[in-house]
């Protein structure tokens, strides 16, 4: 169902962590979700503060919008692995129900490998971007001009964790595929 976007809770039991890698990632994801939650609430306060100082204290605002952008970009990317762990990245599942279970299992593996290839490629290009921004000391073009390695590193870490998460899911599926034979 592709409309599953607007905050309906779908009850999905996360698979029990098995290997050490699974457990480490689950622990990391938990930390990331906490950090992301805090970042989101903080962004809300930063924007509220912005309204107050500009309107009541007549002080011009320069850093608030960009800080909120960084905080929310961080919240989105850092929690994306945790969302993937719950299979929360929504997909069209029209044909899934029609397939025999073995075929469906194979389909899931193919789909996850394709997702993995994309996310890993994206993560790799993010590392390259981060390296460039760090070495050449990139800053944003605003008057405040914060260094860009900050948001880039959040995006890079997030996409890397997401790739690791999908990799672990693929390994898990391959294991199940073999055990079902």
């Amino acid at each position: 169902m592709a409309h599953g976007l607007d905050g309906v809770e779908t009850v999905q039991a996360a698979a029990l962590p098995r290997s050490a890698a699974d457990r480490i990632l689950a622990f990391t994801n938990d930390l990331m979700v906490k950090a992301s939650s805090a970042a989101l609430v903080l962004a809300g306060f930063v924007l509220t503060y912005s309204v107050i100082v500009r309107y009541f204290l007549k002080i011009s605002t320069d850093w608030q919008d960009e800080t909120s952008v960084f905080l929310i970009i961080g919240a989105v990317f850092l929690s994306s692995a945790a969302v993937q762990a719950l299979r929360g990245h929504v997909a069209i599942e029209t044909i899934v129900g029609l397939l025999p279970s073995r075929v469906n299992q194979a389909r899931q593996i193919v789909v996850d490998l394709a997702s993995l290839a994309f996310c890993a490629f994206f993560a790799w290009k993010s590392w390259a971007l981060l390296h460039e921004a760090w070495v050449d000391d990139y800053h944003s073009g605003s008057t405040w001009g914060p260094p860009l390695w900050i948001p880039y590193s959040l995006m890079t870490i997030g996409m890397t964790l997401l790739s690791i998460q999908i990799l672990l899911q693929v390994i898990d599926e391959l294991r199940r595929w073999n055990s079902a034979r």
Binding site: H3, L5, V8, V41, G88, A114
Partner: protein, 449 residues
């Protein structure tokens, strides 16, 4: 390779990846990246991460998670139940007043929470049992809630509208205001239908009573004291104040739309802390986790949709398709009908966010060339996508209703919802004949364009 074949391949590859069940965000990103690698210079492939970052790093887009946080905070509190109770106490004397109270409660809640399914579940979980207890047929009761919930993506602060404003490069403030007239039109249509349908069910019950002496709850007359009417008000007022406060901050020029999102989220958290004493980290955790789940999923789809349209435009697929549509020289209304039909079909499979970002570069230039006002079209397109939330095959709100009232057969829900789909089509026709319903309000407040 000709442009036409590249375009067809691009569309075909996307459909294939999506129907294989690849998550929408990754499918869009993977197809875009693949075509970048094959058809675009190596240097542009290297900047893919930077590209996505720059497209996403707009405070308007990134205000979406904060609007979601505000909605989740309100949605998870008992505010929906209180709001509904208060409206019922004040409106029960009108024929069909209970149904109408539900429509109004949905509209008000949607304006606070900004989400269709959240509205359905918050108002529906109190409203559906109450309506059924009072003799409303299950299909009628679920239709009211499913349709009322769709107002969530039309009324400000609708996430769908934020994306449309970004994609169509239109003023978000103007777009929000343009949605208010049509939303009121829909509320009036829904309420009118609820009254008419109630009278039909009422007369059927009355005939049954006269014929066979069968008692029906529909025939019972409520008596609510003045105390009942005022007892619930204090709990509802703060939320109504939040709603109007945020609107005043936005339109009074005190805050930008994104600042409004931050302000709204902080105020909503403060309100549930003070009224329902929800403030400990343990109590806030489910709200924050639900917010993150939805925001992260949505923002990744948005980021990847933007990459997808960037590639489509770099390869001139969108421009050529748009030019081709213009060159057909269709009459205005045929063009509009064809485009809306496409939106309906896409709505069978895709969430509104991807429909907007993927189709905007193709459909907006021809519409503009044909002389349509893009603010007005944003409202029309949103109503069409609202219909996608309640009609099969994937009408999300139908499934929300199935969740809160599992004993109502799916067919009853679907049949109960259908008249409302008809009313929404009627509203679209009315808006085509009288576009002023949408454009008058923003023109009056912000000056003519």
């Amino acid at each position: 390779m000709s442009l036409l074949s590249i375009g067809l391949l691009y569309g075909g590859a996307t459909l294939f990846a999506m129907f294989l069940g690849m998550p929408i965000a990754f499918a869009l990103g993977a197809v875009a990246t693949l075509f970048m690698i094959i058809f675009m210079p190596g240097a542009s492939v290297d900047t893919i991460a930077q590209n996505v970052y720059e497209e996403m790093a707009s405070i308007t887009l990134l205000s979406i998670p904060l609007f979601i946080l505000k909605g989740a905070a309100i949605g998870r509190s008992p505010a929906g139940r209180d709001l509904y109770g208060a409206l019922h106490a004040w409106m029960h004397w009108i024929p069909g007043g209970l149904g109408i109270a539900n429509v109004f409660a949905c509209a008000l809640f949607a304006a606070m929470a900004g989400s269709s399914p959240a509205t359905c579940s918050a108002i529906g979980s109190a409203g559906i049992p109450e309506m059924r207890k009072r003799g409303y047929s299950p299909g009628f009761a679920s239709g009211i809630i499913a349709a009322g919930g769709t107002l969530g993506i039309l009324l400000p602060p609708s996430i769908t509208m934020i994306l449309y404003a970004v994609a169509a490069e239109q003023s978000l403030g103007r777009l929000f205001l343009a949605a208010i007239g049509p939303a009121l039109l829909l509320v009036a249509l829904f309420a009118g239908y609820a009254m008419w349908k109630f009278r039909r069910e009422f007369h059927a019950a009355l005939a049954q009573y006269k014929l066979a002496g069968t008692e029906s709850e529909l025939l019972r007359v409520d008596t609510l004291t003045v105390y009942d009417k005022f007892a619930l008000l204090p709990r509802v007022l703060p939320f109504v104040i939040l709603l109007t406060g945020v609107m005043v901050a936005l339109y009074g020029g005190y805050a930008t739309p994104s600042e409004t999102a931050g302000l709204g989220a902080v105020l909503a958290l403060a309100l549930i802390a003070s009224i329902y004493s929800v403030w400990t980290p343990r109590e806030l955790e489910p709200i924050l986790i639900a917010t993150l789940r939805e925001s992260t999923m949505l923002m990744l789809i948005i980021g990847m949709s933007l990459l997808y349209s960037y590639v489509m435009s770099y390869l001139h697929i969108s421009q050529s398709t748009a030019q081709w549509i213009v060159s057909l020289e269709l009459s205005r209304w045929v063009l509009l009908a064809a485009i809306l039909l496409m939106v309906v079909v896409l709505g069978f499979f895709l969430p509104p966010v991807s429909i907007i970002l993927m189709t905007a570069p193709i459909i907006l230039p021809p519409l503009k060339a044909a002389g349509f006002d893009l603010i007005w079209f944003g409202v029309i397109m949103t109503i069409i996508m609202e219909m996608g939330l309640i009609h099969p095959p994937v009408g999300l709100n139908i499934f929300v209703i199935k969740n809160i009232a599992p004993d109502i057969p799916l067919w009853d829900v679907v049949w109960g919802v259908m008249p409302f789909v008809g009313l929404m089509m009627l509203a679209v026709v009315v808006l085509c004949i009288f576009p002023e319903i949408a454009t008058w309000f923003p023109d009056a407040i912000m000056g003519a364009k």
